[in-house]
């Protein structure tokens, strides 16, 4: 029991630190990717190639003056970014980061907990994520913040539906809600789920962009219209929390996308690879992080390519295109499964 608790605590700590570390370096990565795509160099002053830039940024955030507007609701003003950070970090619990490490006689799975409703848990945490933005935006007592908060809530609710429907089709195919089992299915025979659910993947990807408030769906913080959107009034580390939460969300959604549609930690042609035991587990985890980093890069790639949607276009895309498509996807999946005798 005690070893179990220690092992889980260590795992939780590692996932927590990795989430923070990846998020910190994602900010650096974002600036570099943006720079390269615009034929620039990007941050290169702090350390070789500027790799200490996240530390400098973090330090700057801490040292900045903390301003809480007198007309704001103080408790909720502080609760907002805390909730954003909390919900961003919570989803990492159910993601399977790797296989089972063997130490001595015991096996230690690299997944904090494989609850049997894993995918719904992720979905629940994501749906709760909007509160951080809403509460922060409302508590600021600023019209731009409020507009940002309202936009965030309607956007997130709209895209959650399409996302949920995309997941439904996937769940129909896999027949399980547990992320661990989904990965196992994709490993032992059978292709990655992207082969079976290309349309579902596309819908899920678009919704993931909308749920993380990333361009082209970054209307809640749309600088050109709303100053800074929901975080207009925020300064210092509370602003840092909001910005950081966005990058953690990107990291987690990349991990979830890799898990659901790209085989999780499975290597391609795994049975032909002459690795076994812990080496295989380490290779798998490394490969999983490779996929995750690719998707983080993809998020940035899209951000620096596509301009922001107009608000009515956003709603049209969500309600009139993605939701019907997702329903069609469910129907098509059902028909195909019936026709192929998989039911």
């Amino acid at each position: 029991m005690l070893t179990f608790i220690i092992y889980k605590s260590i795992l939780v700590l590692i996932v927590f630190l990795i989430s923070l570390g990846v998020a910190a370096y994602a900010t650096y990565g974002e600036r570099k990717v943006a720079a390269f795509m615009q034929d620039r160099i990007g941050p290169d002053r702090a350390g070789p190639f500027g790799i200490f830039q996240p530390l400098a940024d973090g330090l700057k955030m801490f040292m900045k003056e903390e301003i809480i507007p007198t007309v704001s609701n103080k408790f909720l003003f502080i609760l907002g970014p805390s909730l954003a950070m909390l919900t961003a970090l919570m989803a990492g619990v159910v993601v399977p980061w790797g296989g089972k490490l063997a130490i001595g006689d015991h096996y230690y799975p690299l997944q904090i907990t494989d609850i049997n409703i894993g995918i719904l848990y992720v979905f629940g945490v994501v749906s709760f994520g909007v509160y951080g933005i809403m509460i922060g935006g409302w508590a600021s007592n600023n019209k731009y913040s409020l507009l940002g908060a309202l936009r965030a809530s309607s956007q997130m609710i709209s895209y959650e539906i399409a996302m949920g429907l995309a997941i439904v089709a996937l769940v129909m195919k896999t027949g399980t809600l547990s992320l661990g089992e989904m990965v196992a299915q994709q490993g032992t025979g059978g292709w990655w789920n992207i082969v079976y659910q290309p349309l579902g993947f596309l819908i899920f990807l678009i919704c993931a962009f909308a749920e993380t408030n990333r361009a082209p769906f970054d209307l809640p913080e749309c600088e050109t219209e709303l100053v800074g959107g929901y975080h207009t009034e925020y300064s210092s580390m509370k602003l840092g929390f909001y910005l950081f939460a966005e990058y953690i969300n990107i990291f987690i959604s990349s991990a979830v996308i890799s898990t659901l549609y790209f085989g999780g930690f499975n290597l391609p042609f795994q049975s032909h690879i002459p690795l076994d035991g812990n080496w295989l587990v380490i290779a798998q985890t490394a490969f999983f992080f490779g996929k995750v980093i690719f998707f983080i890069f993809f998020f940035m790639w899209v951000r620096w390519t596509i301009p922001r949607f107009r608000y009515d276009q956003l709603m049209n895309l969500g309600w009139k295109i993605l939701i019907p498509l997702a329903i069609f996807n469910i129907l098509a999946t059902g028909v195909l499964m019936y026709a192929l005798g998989k039911v």
Binding site: F36, M37, D39, R40, W301, V302, T305, I306
Partner: protein
Amino acid sequence: MQLTNRKKVVVKKEMSLAEKLYLPAITNGMVITMKHFFKKGATVRYPEVKREISETYRGQHVLKRDEQGAERCTACGLCAVACPAEAITMEAAERKKGEETLYREEKYAAVYEINMLRCIFCGLCEEACPKEAIFLTDRIVPTDLKRGEFVYGKDKLVEDINHRIDLSGRQTKEVLEFKKDKTKAHNQTWADKQKLLKENKHH
């Protein structure tokens, strides 16, 4: 009336299915950004690498000295009059005996100030100067934290006697040729004049 034949009538035409899907356009855009990702950046890493600038670049001003080291400026005020930004102020003073090696003319600028925040670096002062005293150089005015620091006095403007600034690149061949002609008063230093005076006495 038709001015050019480049006119193009804009029609709002129905989009084709591929255009309506937007996905082909998005992939197109993403290919373009990816191409740029691997392109070499155009950035010049400034403090280490300096961009080549023209010899006639109009940067920070200098108040020249002549060959002997005397300040050329005679505080005539033409530069201040010419200045469209009214950045130049000066106070004149009379040269005392024994200061002939310091000031070339009998009148000189006791105070000469240029407000670098007002200055638009147009170079009209340089053109107005009859004494070849003020020039713009290819140096860049450094940044500072206080506004007051940008009012440059003679301490910053007059060229250091040990580190002369070569301005031959800014002058045309004819001017350089003319400057060699020591018979012209414009090109004579105080020492030259003394020498001529002595020679005249001999005769």
